[in-house]
């Protein structure tokens, strides 16, 4: 029974990692750029959610959890636009400058976003308003407990990932996105506006990241400005684990990392969870350097 409980917790954390990992993997897909600023865009989702909730609760008479819904949508839109802005200012001018310069630029943006958050919100831990998140839970057979909040975040994460998967597989724009991630010039010859596709990626990735930031903050209740580094880095690792550039891979990698970490800390000790998680990561990468789903079909026969 303890195992099932651990799995449920692991899947929850895994869903967070997956949602953030998608942003890394999508940008890598179209630009072959590791967007180190993505973790901090995600962190900003948590802070903007905090401000949004405080403002909304100030306007309302009573504390209703429904206030989360409009705030989370606003956060998603704001962080998505932030992502496009970061691309315009820091990456787009460096499009033809090789691969190293944009990575350095991404690190710069990451530091700027982090310092901004620290200077504006302070360095101490911040807490979401009390009583806003629905508490309680369901106790299943054998004492396995699922919190209401856990159910809500799981449903939200899986809905978002499902929608993204359908978008990339079934729509014209989504297919064009996959085409661009394979070959920019050939995509242009098809009439695809590559710059516009890149902009769409910088909307969707950080948009999902922003939602994830607020969900993570709601789930844990408190966070600080290092959230982007600590949690974001894990999500980046999840993207690598699944095969960077591969959207289902990011989802799988996030889930695996979340589950391994939780099982490790549950059965051994919480202090060893990172050791276990990274040891397994290293082992997987030794045997599959391209990540779990990173294998490409032979490009030329």
């Amino acid at each position: 029974m303890q195992f099932i409980q651990q799995m449920i917790n692991g899947i929850t954390i895994g869903a967070f990692y997956s949602l953030v990992a998608l942003g890394y993997t999508m940008v890598y897909g179209v630009l072959k750029l590791i967007n180190f600023a993505h973790g901090d865009l995600f962190m900003w989702g948590a802070y903007l959610g905090l401000t949004g909730l405080n403002v909304a609760l100030g306007l309302l008479a009573n504390d209703t959890p429904w206030v989360i819904l409009p705030v989370i949508i606003l956060v998603m839109i704001t962080v998505a636009l932030g992502g496009v802005l970061v691309d315009r200012v820091a990456y787009k001018p460096l499009r033809s400058a090789g691969r190293l310069a944009p990575v350095i630029s991404a690190l710069g943006v990451a530091f700027i976003l982090q310092s901004l958050a620290r200077n504006l919100y302070g360095a101490s831990w911040r807490t979401y308003p009390h009583g806003i998140t629905p508490s309680g839970g369901i106790v299943l057979a054998g004492g396995v407990r699922i919190g209401i909040m856990q159910i809500i975040v799981l449903v939200a994460c899986f809905l978002l990932m499902g929608a993204l998967y359908l978008f990339t597989q079934r729509t014209r724009l989504g297919t064009a996105m996959r085409a661009v991630s394979l070959d920019h010039d050939t995509s242009r010859l098809m009439g695809i506006n590559v710059d516009r596709i890149i902009a769409v990626v910088f909307l969707i990735g950080p948009g999902l990241g922003g939602v994830a930031g607020m969900i993570v903050a709601l789930y844990y209740g408190s966070f600080d400005f290092t959230l982007g580094w600590t949690f974001g880095l894990k999500a980046f690792i999840a993207a690598i684990l699944g095969g960077i550039g591969n959207i289902p891979g990011a989802m799988l990698g996030g889930m695996m990392l979340g589950i391994i970490e939780t099982l490790g800390s549950g059965y051994l000790s919480p202090q060893w969870k990172d050791v276990i998680a990274y040891a397994i990561l290293i082992i997987i990468l030794i045997f599959r350097p391209t990540g779990l789903l990173g294998e490409r079909v032979a490009e030329k026969v």
């Binding site: 050939t186 010859l189 098809m190 009439g191 490409r296």
Partner: protein
């Protein structure tokens, strides 16, 4: 009036002055072959026409409209499609998805897309059999068919092919050139770039010979096949 008219085209490829004043014309309904050695500027010429490279000087006119300097993704919609060199299919997209990308400029016009799909499947029945397969799992010949079919999905008036015979078995090369003739018979104007000069001139109405960024010879294809210099330099005759 020529469908495609290129005047005094200068293009840099990196730091290399790849095209040094190319003049070229293609009439509606023609097959024109552009031959020359490796590095003569054949591919650069196509890439400049399709907008992937910006010319530094000179003009390209298509159907009376200046298209030099127009970004590549807007040129397809004007009726110019390029089949890139080296079978650049989207390897992790299915055959159907590859074709849909070819029809990207048609937007949501499902009827036109379906009609074009029918037409390219008639031309390449093999692709219909493979429609749910990933592009990367096709054989070399099938991949080349797919690149041509994909370019036709945009309903081009001018189809530009870059080395379609490269790396294919002789029998397949023959099939590809027959297909080029068939596409032309359906009213599509063709600009063909080839190292296989003999086959390219045999299929063409007219030809141009490119040497280090200059047009050194041009004329009716039959004439070029007889030309002393062409025979020596490009047809491997002594």
């Amino acid at each position: 009036m020529a469908l495609l008219k290129i005047e005094n085209l200068h293009t840099y490829y990196g730091h290399v002055h790849a095209l040094k004043g190319v003049d070229l014309e293609v009439e509606e309904g023609e097959i024109v072959s552009l031959i020359g050695a490796n590095g003569a500027g054949k591919t650069t010429t196509l890439r400049t026409i399709s907008g992937l490279i910006r010319p530094v000087q000179g003009t390209i006119t298509f159907d009376g409209q200046t298209i030099s300097g127009v970004p590549a993704h807007q040129i397809v919609g004007k009726g110019v499609s390029q089949v890139p060199e080296g079978r650049q299919i989207f390897s992790t997209l299915t055959v159907t998805e590859n074709l849909n990308m070819g029809a990207y400029t048609l937007g949501g016009d499902k009827e036109a897309i379906e009609q074009n799909r029918r037409r390219v499947y008639d031309l390449f029945p093999r692709l219909e059999e493979r429609k749910n397969q990933l592009g990367g799992t096709l054989s070399g010949g099938e991949q080349q068919m797919l690149t041509i079919a994909r370019a036709l999905m945009a309903q081009p008036r001018l189809l530009m092919l870059d080395e379609p015979s490269l790396g294919l078995a002789p029998l397949l090369v023959k099939t590809i050139f027959e297909t080029v003739r068939e596409i032309n018979a359906h009213g599509v104007t063709i600009l063909l770039v080839e190292q296989n000069a003999r086959a390219a001139l045999k299929v063409a109405h007219r030809g141009y010979v490119l040497e280090t960024g200059h047009v050194v010879l041009s004329g009716p294809a039959r004439g070029l096949l007889q030309d002393e210099r062409v025979r020596k330099a490009y047809l491997g005759e002594k």
